[in-house]
Amino acid sequence: MWTIVRKDLAIELRTGEMASSMFLLALLIILVFAFTLEPERLVAPEFLAGLSWTTLLVAGTLALNRSFVLEREAGGLTGLALAPIDRGSIYLGKALGNFFLLLVAGLVLLPLIAILLGTRGLAPTWLLPLVLLLGVAGIAAIGTLCAAIASRTRAREVLLPILMFPLLAPLLIAATRTTAGALVGESAADLQSWLLMLGGFDIVFATAGWLSFDVLLEE
């Protein structure tokens, strides 16, 4: 499992393809927000949270799409499926790779959005990284599963967001709410039920993905 993570991250580190295109796309999305939404009006932290997750989701879709396309093109998935390892581990490896990529993207994006769409009166707490971690984990869990499903079809680039966005609805609601809360310094107790929901979402779908890869990779 760690081998897969290492392999995926090594490809990424060496080429930097994904990270650079994700970064560029994210930056352009922020620009679009700035042009269309009149930055002066975006003073509420709720906006900032919503825009951050929207940007991260769209940019992340790009990375998730690639994660299985590369394998399919090179026949790597067949190789992985034939390897004497538990298929669930392939899922976990893939999901972890995506998770790290998304996490780095989030860590770069969040301050960038805060600066560019500048909001005053922010008081970020230590909850913010935790929220980012939990939210990104959910996107990676669902996204990896959906990417595996979508990669089998003709229109995979289109299908991935179609499959993924509705399933992510509860996560996005929770992530945006907690991010907004963490940005203005709400305490963990205030956000408790939301944080539990985020964690629950991650666990449910990571388990679902882990179990279903047994079925998905049977060729």
């Binding site: 499903i149 299908l159 179609i162 399933l167 609805a169 996560l171 609601i173 939301w194 929901m197 998905l216």
Partner: protein, 231 residues
């Protein structure tokens, strides 16, 4: 495979559906009294609420038949999952159409992000994604397993979704109360109309699913014949 002889489904289901649907329409439009506060618009509930329940039930059936398919590999289970998703999508769409027709005069808006509305529209999107996967998946047999996995994962999303939208929007008790048809319904005729409508829409659901499932079976047979012919 497909059967040429007439089964009970061909005879009983269409007739029962037609009779109960006519009865339901008759009751909704002519027999049942209007609710005092909301007036005539309220009558749409007899269909709207039942459609919503069945759309949700259809989702559970998709998950159940998907699990059955993964367990046994039965093509019949796969066809049932597919047919259920299609009819469930149809019902969800009707819910989303009948809802605003009622909401506009009563709430004053076509749409609001109330928990139930939000949930229904996300449910609709999940159904749409499932059917899109089936359409774009091609004839490959592995896609059936992929669709089954999605059918089950989609149903896992529902409880989380319910939780999220409730926390997000809170419950609007006043709205909920007026949305609950039993609350303002004192006339026993209203209860009966509700039940007959449920029966009619339930029969229609079953009939449509059985027709679609049979059509899918015929499709599979035809595809198999083409393969034979090509050989």
């Amino acid at each position: 495979m497909s059967e040429s002889r007439r089964t009970w489904q061909d005879v009983i289901l269409p007739w029962a559906t037609c009779v109960s649907m006519l009865a339901a329409i008759l009751m909704v439009f002519l027999l049942v009294p209007s609710e005092r506060d909301q007036g005539i618009v309220q009558r749409i509930f007899y269909f709207h609420v039942n459609l919503a329940w069945m759309a949700f039930g259809g989702f559970a059936l998709v998950a159940g038949t998907s699990a059955w398919f993964l367990r046994t590999g039965s093509r019949r289970a796969d066809r049932l999952a597919h047919a259920n998703a299609e009819v469930g999508m149809l019902y969800t769409t009707l819910v989303l159409i009948t809802g605003p027709i009622w909401a506009r005069p009563i709430w004053g808006v076509w749409w609001t992000w109330d928990p139930r509305l939000t949930m229904t529209v996300v449910l609709w999107a999940i159904y749409a994604a499932y059917l899109m996967l089936r359409r774009l998946g091609g004839d490959d047999d592995t896609i059936l397993r992929y669709a089954a996995v999605l059918g089950i994962v989609g149903s896992l999303d529902i409880p989380l979704l319910i939780l999220a939208v409730r926390l997000w929007r809170g419950v609007h008790p006043a709205v909920m109360l007026s949305e609950d048809p039993d609350a303002g319904l004192k006339d026993p005729m209203m209860g009966w109309t509700m039940m007959v409508s449920a029966l009619a829409l339930g029969l229609l659901f079953t009939w449509l699913v059985s027709l679609r499932a049979r059509l899918l079976a015929v499709d599979e047979t035809v595809a198999a014949m083409h393969l034979e012919g090509a050989r």
